[in-house]
Symmetry: C3
Subunit: 195 residues, 3 copies
């Protein structure tokens, strides 16, 4: 992977881990539960993507530092979550950030495998949304991904399409990925603020 894609990848894992730990906090789990939900949320989307594409063993098995980062994030939230005024509000915005870096990360990984554009788009959406979906199902919350008025999936689709359009328009990969992240975040933020 090129540097921009690597940075997006680590970013999305750590931020999704924070959202998973916050959801664990809302469900009043113990420390092991924080780590478990954080890990599932953080690597869930990328893991499903890798399995669908046949890239095995999946990415985090080959790079155990991911799990170390996730455990640190979960422990940090475990000891600080009670200081937050509204854990849900923080979760919502962190989730928007994580989505906005996970979609381009998924696009970058899939582009490198040479699959057709529709598969690239789908894998961007899968990488961005499946971890959060698992988090919400496990913690018994209404999944953000499917909640009415959130337009969650639409933001992910639009971001992925932006990356493909930027590529077709002749922009380089880093520019296309940043455009993807920007569009995803802008739409998602708009939906949170005025949705």
């Amino acid at each position: 992977m090129i540097p921009v894609a690597t940075a997006l990848d680590y970013g999305s894992v750590v931020i999704f881990a924070l959202t998973g730990a916050l959801a664990a906090s809302r469900s009043q789990l113990d420390l092991a539960g924080f780590v478990f939900v954080a890990a599932l949320t953080a690597v869930g989307g990328g893991t499903v993507r890798d399995v669908l594409l046949g890239r095995m063993p999946v990415f985090w098995v080959q790079r155990p530092e991911y799990m170390v980062l996730i455990a640190i994030a979960a422990v940090a939230v475990f000891f600080t979550a009670h200081l937050l005024e509204s854990r849900y509000r923080v979760l919502l915005w962190l989730d928007a950030c994580a989505l906005s870096v996970a979609v381009p990360a998924g696009v970058a990984v899939t582009l490198a495998t040479g699959h057709p554009a529709i598969v690239v788009l789908i894998m961007g959406v899968v990488t961005g949304t499946v971890g959060g979906l698992m988090r919400d199902v496990l913690c018994n919350e209404v999944p953000l991904t499917l909640k009415q008025g959130e337009l969650y999936l639409s933001c992910a689709f639009a971001g992925g399409a932006m990356a493909l359009l930027a590529g077709w328009a002749g922009f380089g990969l880093p520019t296309a990925l940043l455009a993807c992240a920007g569009v995803t975040f802008a739409l998602r933020a708009g939906s949170i603020l005025w949705g």
Copy 2:
């Protein structure tokens, strides 16, 4: 795959996509939600089968036209579902049709891999039932697969067993697959009508 198996495969994907979109409609999702649930329902069973068997990348990654068909089905339901008198009734019967073509499709794919009969039977059931199970869990409906009195899994098992019996009795593959589809549908229809 031989023509009969291919026809069963496309048929089950499109019909399951329609049921997924109808479930999305019952959950009042937006257009992206229709496409997402339709896709998960349509390819869920075959995807899990392919992963278990190690056939990767999974079938629809190699043939992106599946996703195009699914998107068309989802959009069509999005604009017409409100015209239906009882979306659940239509969903129930379409689901019975989809099950009856997905079980033989799963049997055909697994037979071609040379695995033993019990694995063929299991993969027929998995291909037929897992997509609908994901649809119901995601849309927060009681899963048809496990609902009391539906005999859903029994129909899938009986259909798969019929295919194996027809094969052992010396019938050709197309006949065995059609017998499988017939038995599955007859039992499922009986269960819906008199269950």
Copy 3:
């Protein structure tokens, strides 16, 4: 696999199958439902482990006798569960036994692949907990894995860590696996009795 690991593997599959069938009984499913939930619970954790590690086809596809054992266990529970005074109590203790053999089984399989210690630990936890998690989600019970006060995940983590420590301390694999099983069961039993 060496004999101890093989014994652990078969043991965890059969005991988890019994817990799955008991959960099916609590949900009043039919016989096919018993077999389905028993199978999912019994092989769910090991299947996810194999997929993550890229060991495909997954373990039970290559050894169909697993499914025969699971079907026998499910049928046996189907005809006897009504004789039990408290199915939940039996389920709870069988689940503790299954966890205690599944964690070392997962550790043994992953050790043999040469992955780093953190991956071995994670795969022990995944093998031990994912099948039961699927069982509970499917049967609409609060997942034991995440239930407050159960310390379920902590027991699995501690058992896996014990296996690694015993290995580093120079003990042979059979000793390390037995220590892992012992620690997992002791902690889990303590949590059930005094948790």
